[in-house]
């Protein structure tokens, strides 16, 4: 009895203390203390273009309230983070990364986050990692030039590889971060049955792309992919949904193939060795706030990760939101745990592939 009473007392005390502590410091996503970072300078690193513009716009309130000077840099490259971490002179304070890297390099290149400083209560289940919170959700889609294919447009990823039925130049991501979903999709297009996909034959997948030969070109940044659509340089472009929307907005004559669009979740991280950890956490906490997420969505079409976010969506934007039931039904979700386990191989081989080897 005595023991139980003691335990109960202890538990009660802990709850009470916990509540008190929370009442004092618990952050609310999107809220920033007035003047808290006055005179400080931070750098926010992302993938540039329309996306980073949207992110910076969504952080405007944070900038004004906290008094911080916010600089942008990028595009995100793991090697650059590694170089900074190894030299002990880390100049990137908050970094937006792809889906996998924070899980692969958690505790090595990215800090374990302190969730007493970030309010993750409104983020959908299962999206928060030890070293990252989601930045937003979006899709990678196959875009095709309408005038090039007329009444017989491509309908799926297999058509991307079919240069006979669908002649023309194809553009794909060629940045150093491997797109592991594309590896899976290439294998499927090459005839690997879905249940025998893993362990994935990375060489076979990349050779499928290599097989496109002269018809394949790469873009290094999202902006470049958008430029390719606006200038009509490639007949098919594998593009991030926001950039595809941006291109359409600027008058590009392209349409998406939604069948098996790739689910992507960008992540917000803090590299190891960032000196002002509190400021970095404050920025992340601001970025996942309700209003910040709404602004980000309104500018980029990327889906918010705050449950209550109600962005004002116009007609064009509505076509591009990926969090609708219809879109989710046709989405393709890669095998995240497998790729986290087997990242090194695909990273090396992808690197050689895009370098032309």
């Amino acid at each position: 009895m005595k023991l139980i009473a003691k335990a109960a007392l202890q538990a009660g005390l802990m709850v009470a203390f916990g509540l008190a502590a929370q009442a004092q410091t618990a952050p609310v996503a999107g809220e920033t203390a007035e003047g808290s970072l006055a005179g400080k300078t931070m750098s926010f690193v992302s993938y540039g273009g329309l996306y980073q513009d949207g992110q910076i716009a969504s952080l405007q309130e944070f900038v004004e309230k906290s008094g911080v000077t916010l600089l942008s840099d990028g595009p995100t490259e793991v090697a650059k983070i590694q170089a900074q971490v190894e030299s002990g002179d880390v100049q990137w304070h908050v970094v937006d990364t792809g889906t996998l890297t924070p899980f692969v390099y958690c505790g090595e290149l990215f800090q374990k986050l302190d969730f007493s400083k970030i309010d993750i209560s409104n983020i959908p289940e299962g999206q928060v990692g030890e070293c990252s919170v989601p930045a937003m959700n979006y899709g990678t889609v196959l875009m095709y030039r309408k005038s090039a294919y007329g009444d017989n447009p491509p309908t799926g990823w297999a058509d991307f590889f079919d240069t006979e039925k669908f002649p023309g130049v194809r553009a794909m991501p060629g940045d150093s971060e491997p797109d592991t979903t594309l590896v899976e999709l290439a294998l499927l297009a090459d005839g690997v049955p879905k249940d025998q996909l893993f362990p994935a034959d990375v060489d076979r997948a990349l050779n499928k792309f290599r097989g496109l030969g002269e018809d394949l070109i790469f873009w290094k940044t999202g902006a470049e992919s958008q430029q390719m659509m606006e200038s009509g340089e490639a007949d098919m472009v594998i593009a991030w949904s926001g950039r595809a929307m941006g291109a359409q907005k600027n008058g590009a004559d392209y349409a998406p193939v939604w069948q098996d669009w790739i689910v992507v979740m960008d992540q917000l991280t803090i590299p190891m060795g960032v000196k002002d950890v509190d400021a970095a956490h404050a920025l992340i906490n601001a970025a996942i706030g309700k209003r910040a997420q709404e602004i980000m969505t309104e500018q980029t079409s990327y889906s918010p990760i705050h449950k209550d976010a109600q962005p004002e969506v116009d007609e064009l934007l509505a076509q591009w939101l990926t969090n609708t039931p219809e879109k989710i039904a046709v989405s393709y979700q890669q095998n995240i745990p497998y790729w986290i386990e087997n990242y090194e191989e695909v990273e090396t081989k992808w690197g050689e592939f895009i370098a032309g080897n």
Binding site: E77, A79, K80, Q82, A83, G174, S176, E214, I217, F218, Q227, S231, G232, E233, G351, I354, A355, G356, N357
Partner: protein, 280 residues
């Protein structure tokens, strides 16, 4: 003060600050590149073996020379008549011609390459023009051809200036004398003017070729994977893969190629001077 200026009697001291700066900012970094190419990740020739065993690397290696060669030839073809014209016109016209050379020379290469990106893209100005005239579209951006076009424009001033410097000092009375002795204009040009202008041709060609070999910005922005040059490849190895060994090896290969070329050129020009009895 007297002590300080007595340095003047040992002039080598005057060069010490510059030499020190070079040691710190050039010698030490270059040593690092060489060192890492032999030691990172393991001591040995692995990085060089890797470089020469991959066909793609060799393709890029030869392409680098090919592109630099074409750029040199094109610069010469465009620059020679232009430089001659600069010596043959009145002062006002000459001023305009000089301005046209100097302006691109001083305008940042990045900005000029930006212009070429806009012009050469598949639906850029050039291709629209071709289509309007009833021709087929030509793929220019992300091809070696596009890189050659952009580089030729960026490097042309480096050809014209040494050419002009030499041509300006050629005594045209020699040509006139040859003609008055009955030589046809073509012959007078080939036998008198051309040989006299050769130092400028060699000087310009060497500068353009060497700059072309190591050119980075224009190939990086105008070239795609099919127009990659050695500089871009080395940059990718270091900045995107953090592979200091391989990037370093590529750097050393590029550096050695440049030095060999310079040595050959130096020997060649020296011999030529001996044949013609020296220019001084």
């Amino acid at each position: 003060m007297r002590n300080l200026f007595s340095i003047g009697r040992h002039p080598v001291w005057l060069t010490v600050p510059s030499l020190l700066l070079l040691l710190v900012a050039l010698g030490y970094p270059l040593a690092q590149v060489v060192l890492r190419s032999f030691t990172d990740p393991a001591i040995g020739l692995d990085n060089y073996v890797w470089f020469f065993s991959r066909p793609v690397n060799l393709t890029v290696f030869w392409r680098t020379f090919e592109v630099a060669g074409w750029v040199t030839i094109l610069c010469l073809v465009l620059g020679y008549p232009y430089a001659w014209m600069m010596t043959a016109v009145g002062p006002r016209m000459r001023l305009l011609l000089i301005l046209c050379v100097l302006v691109p020379f001083w305008v940042s290469g990045v900005v000029r390459t930006l212009a070429w990106v806009i012009l050469l893209q598949d639906s850029g100005v050039i291709n629209r023009g071709l289509v309007a005239l009833g021709f087929e579209k030509v793929r220019l951006i992300r091809t070696p051809l596009g890189v050659i076009i952009g580089m030729t424009q960026v490097l042309l001033p480096f050809m014209i200036m040494p050419l002009y410097a030499v041509m300006r000092s050629i005594d045209l009375r020699l040509v006139q004398a040859a003609r008055s002795l009955g030589a046809r204009p073509t012959l007078a040009f080939v036998q008198i003017y051309l040989p006299l202008s050769l130092p400028g041709v060699f000087g310009g060609a060497i500068i353009v070729f060497i700059l072309g070999l190591g050119f980075y910005i224009t190939p990086a922005l105008l070239g795609g994977p099919r127009a990659t040059m050695l500089s871009t490849l080395a940059q990718q190895q270091v900045l995107q893969q953090l592979n200091w060994g391989r990037g370093g090896a590529m750097g050393v290969i590029l550096l050695v190629s440049t030095l060999v070329l310079l040595a050959v050129a130096a020997r060649f020009t020296r011999r030529r001077y001996q044949i013609t009895g020296g220019s001084k």
